[in-house]
């Protein structure tokens, strides 16, 4: 039930912000500061989410094989590899290190 509440809230909220952009008169949101903040907000959230999903285990921090996979993805991104290769390298390296070392 809790999951359905979260699904419903996210669906309604995300649709509302999409629609808002299309229907509000131009200029309302187009102040430089608001624009800068809107551009930086996803940067902050994505950085925090990447770090958490790699290093968090409940309320504690761990370094496990996912870190190796993320490092591989970072290298792929630096080499300007396509999205597909970035995702594949993260998954394959994590699986490989896990299989070889038997580590979490």
């Amino acid at each position: 039930m809790n999951i359905w509440i979260a699904v419903g809230l996210t669906a309604v909220g995300c649709y509302a912000v999409k629609l808002m952009g299309l229907v509000v008169p131009a200029g309302v949101l187009e102040r430089p500061l608001v624009g800068r903040l809107a551009a930086l907000l996803p940067v902050a959230l994505l950085a925090a989410l990447t770090a958490q999903q790699t290093f968090a285990d409940g309320h504690s921090l761990v370094v496990d094989t996912k870190a190796a996979g993320l490092a591989a993805a970072a290298v792929a991104l630096m080499l300007r590899a396509p999205f597909l290769a970035v995702l594949a390298s993260a998954v394959l390296v994590t699986a490989a290190v896990r299989a070889i070392t038997g580590w979490g």
Binding site: I3, T10, L19, L40, L41, L49, G58, T65, A90, A96
Partner: protein, 222 residues
């Protein structure tokens, strides 16, 4: 672009099912939310045991960028009022990029409709395949699929890190997100990390103000 969206749709389906959502809940997210980063954030927060409200708030914060896409699109596409509620669901990163790259209004409208429809169908089909397939796969960890979600976030983040300001925001957000993890309820540290954006902007503004004429902005420094 289609392959990339297809693969992340599949990865989302697998991740979501692995996070304990049912196939129906997973597909409902892709049908109704249809903005990838928010969906990954929501199922990640729920899997970690976050409260529904905090989990939804994180997903919603990530979706706010779509409002600014809509703002630019509404000028480019000049859609009739009646069509806007229907078009809104397709206002995402990819459709915005395609539409704004078109030379004329007509081609922008065609680009928006074709990209929107194609990706909507593809995203939802691959989500379904991923969610159903996750059962067959069994433990997603064995296949390293639990690394897919952070890799998607990293791939979305990387092109945004153009200037010193963005890198500073990312660094502060990582410190806040990880540092607050042991002490705050699940899902809240990510929301707190969002404060990195106004904090860094404020700091950058303060540093620039004393001698505005000489100090190059963060953009020019690069």
């Amino acid at each position: 672009m289609g392959t990339a969206v297809g693969l992340s749709g599949f990865a989302f389906g697998v991740t979501s099912a692995g996070s304990g959502l049912t196939v129906l809940q997973t597909c409902a997210l892709s049908l109704l939310v249809f903005t990838g980063a928010s969906q990954f954030a929501l199922v990640g927060a729920l899997a970690a045991g976050g409260a529904p409200l905090t989990a939804a708030a994180g997903a919603l914060f990530l979706g706010v960028r779509n409002a600014f896409y809509g703002l630019r699109l509404s000028q480019r596409l000049a859609l009739p009022r009646a069509l806007r509620p229907a078009a809104a669901q397709w206002v995402i990163d990819e459709t915005t990029a395609v539409s704004l790259a078109q030379p004329t209004r007509r081609s922008a409208r065609i680009g928006f409709a074709v990209t929107g429809l194609t990706l909507y169908v593809l995203w939802n089909l691959t989500t379904l395949v991923g969610a159903v397939g996750a059962r067959a796969v069994g433990d997603t960890g064995t296949w390293g699929l639990d690394a897919a979600s952070p890799a998607v976030f990293l791939a979305l983040l990387a092109p945004m890190l153009r200037t010193a300001t963005e890198r500073a925001v990312a660094a502060v957000a990582v410190v806040l997100g990880l540092g607050l993890l042991p002490v705050l309820p699940t899902g809240v540290p990510v929301l707190a990390a969002a404060l990195a954006a106004p904090a860094v902007l404020w700091g950058a503004g303060r540093r620039r103000r004393p001698h505005t004429s000489q100090t190059p902005s963060a953009k020019e420094e690069r």
